[in-house]
Symmetry: C2
Subunit: 338 residues, 2 copies
């Protein structure tokens, strides 16, 4: 099969690799209909995370089940499925509490920019769609695999809902889908922080009511000005830097909630400042599996169109071009067709 | 009147000062029946916090209303009242959300180790008891003013409740009353982390089911061993140091809740580690006012006896001796009689 391998920062190659194959009776193998490039893949691509040795990459996927292990009960060969980047048994105490991304049997998916993917813990990870999706639904279902699931989790962690003012730090695909999620959860007012016109347009289409172009302290001052001096009830943080975390913390009112899902890089939270803010802080790797049934249903009924974050579609063999486009911010998110 | 002034680290004096007097029509003046020394007073006493110039000190109080301003409606001269260290109007948006310690009109109390105390925002700060309390109830009511209210808030923020295993980091008065609070909130199992026999005894009396004497990584390993390798559902942090915060974070299972109320000193939380824990973090200065009616009711009906944390009672003129006893850990908490 063809699969993507990162050799070093900036060095992405599509290579001929052994077909993905089951290694445990709880595995499944999925023939991918679509995969994509995540903002978090760029950390390695940009050299912010080390690439110790060449390794397969990619963790977002939808496709058709091609093989299932002897112990798999919940999905069948031929079904169209959506899965999460963190596999889960969906039966342990942590999973039952809704934190499948921390399942005691978790394995992270890391070879999804390919034709075939082995999925561990298939029963607790994969969710079948009601039938074979129309082609136009595939980007939306693919978004559910991570970027929508993560934005949704952030909105949920930030307790976005009726009567709430939600601010969103980060206008990447996760931030934009945080806007969509907050809207779906019933938020009254959604402030997108973005300085890029194309992303602002998408944020407004997804339900943003206000756009703030300022960043850092100025951005915080703007959020306060829009919220009677108090700060937002709910803040979604979808970047993962020191600046974005502090912007999120400072833009939240006392007693408010921050849902942070940008993978933290070189972040140190000052304890004393955090203490005196009185905010709630919750986040981390999103338990996408918790939300998948609901998200698939919303997509299937065409109530949401999260796939709009894909503004560039390429065949898998042009994966390197996709990374370049995202790295250079020419694309919000790139869909790859195997 | 006589009032306590801190002149420098280690230098506490009871002095003759002007009588506390109203400065706004929303003030009240309370003649104190009892006051006490807080663990947080020791930060200045020990020189961890600077003492820029001599200033009055103390923020826990109960007593009888002696004067009320023209705008005060909710309390009357002659009533016995309990108040919080953070005054609040109890009507602003932040107060109505239950975060009175962050009220837009908040003023911190800082002169309560005295005979008389001016209380700003009297209507939204003071809660009257159903009548004049019996003398034996006074220590319990005094505890509600901060140390119980803070422990209760920590237990609430940590979502202690039925079916939950709660770990408590810190065996000072707040940690011990965190144990009592978790018990009242219905926690199934309460693990007190303490290496002092007298405090262990009180923790067990307040409802602890397990005692862990280890600290740091060893303490975390012990909590994990007691919780099937997962960590506690709920962790109360009642110290405020880097070690205690990391102990709390690492002892919590993914998706679990930390209620942190130890005033943070020199704490930097590592973003990446926090991210991958998936815990909820909430705390800060406790909105004691939110809980006062319920706490007073529990004390009035003699269902809880939080005043047991006072293991030394001194007349106010021996306040310096009280600080020394707490600093040298000869006392858990010192009650002062004006």
């Amino acid at each position: 099969m063809r699969g993507t391998v990162i050799h070093a920062p900036g060095d992405i190659r599509l290579e001929e690799r052994p077909d993905a194959a089951m290694t445990a009776p709880t595995d499944a193998v999925v023939r991918l209909s679509a995969t994509c490039i995540c903002g978090s893949d760029l950390w390695a691509y940009r050299g912010v995370e080390p690439v110790e040795e060449p390794h397969p990459i990619g963790h977002e996927y939808v496709g058709v089940v091609e093989q299932v292990g002897a112990d798999v009960r919940n999905v069948e060969v031929g079904q169209f499925v959506v899965g999460s980047f963190a596999t889960s048994d969906n039966t342990c105490e942590i999973c039952r509490a809704g934190y499948q991304s921390h399942c005691v049997h978790r394995e992270f998916v890391g070879a999804a920019q390919a034709e075939l993917l082995r999925v561990p813990n298939a029963d607790g990870t994969l969710v079948a769609t009601p039938g074979m999706p129309d082609a136009d639904l595939i980007p939306h279902l693919l978004a559910a695999s991570d970027v929508l699931g993560t934005g949704w989790y952030a909105a949920d962690a930030a307790q976005a809902g009726p009567g709430k003012t939600v601010a969103v730090v980060g206008d990447g695909a996760v931030g934009l889908l945080g806007v969509l999620s907050a809207k779906q959860l019933g938020a009254e007012r959604i402030i997108a922080m973005s300085r890029h016109e194309d992303r602002q347009r998408l944020a407004l289409e997804f339900g943003a009511t206000d756009i703030v172009t300022e960043r850092g302290d100025e951005g915080v001052a703007k959020i306060k000005a829009l919220t009677g001096g108090l700060g937002a009830h709910s803040v979604i943080e979808a970047v993962g830097t020191q600046e974005s975390m502090m912007q999120a913390i400072r833009a939240t009112r006392a007693g408010g909630h921050i849902g942070y899902v940008g993978v933290s890089h070189d972040v140190e939270l000052p304890g004393e400042e955090l203490f005196f803010t009185g905010v709630h802080l919750h986040g981390g790797p999103a338990p996408v599996r918790r939300f998948l049934p609901e998200l698939i249903d919303l997509i299937w009924r065409r109530e949401i169109a999260p796939g709009k974050v894909f503004d560039l579609t390429l065949p898998l063999d042009r994966v390197a071009e996709g990374y370049r486009a995202m790295d250079e911010r020419r694309a919000v998110k790139v869909l790859l067709q195997p």
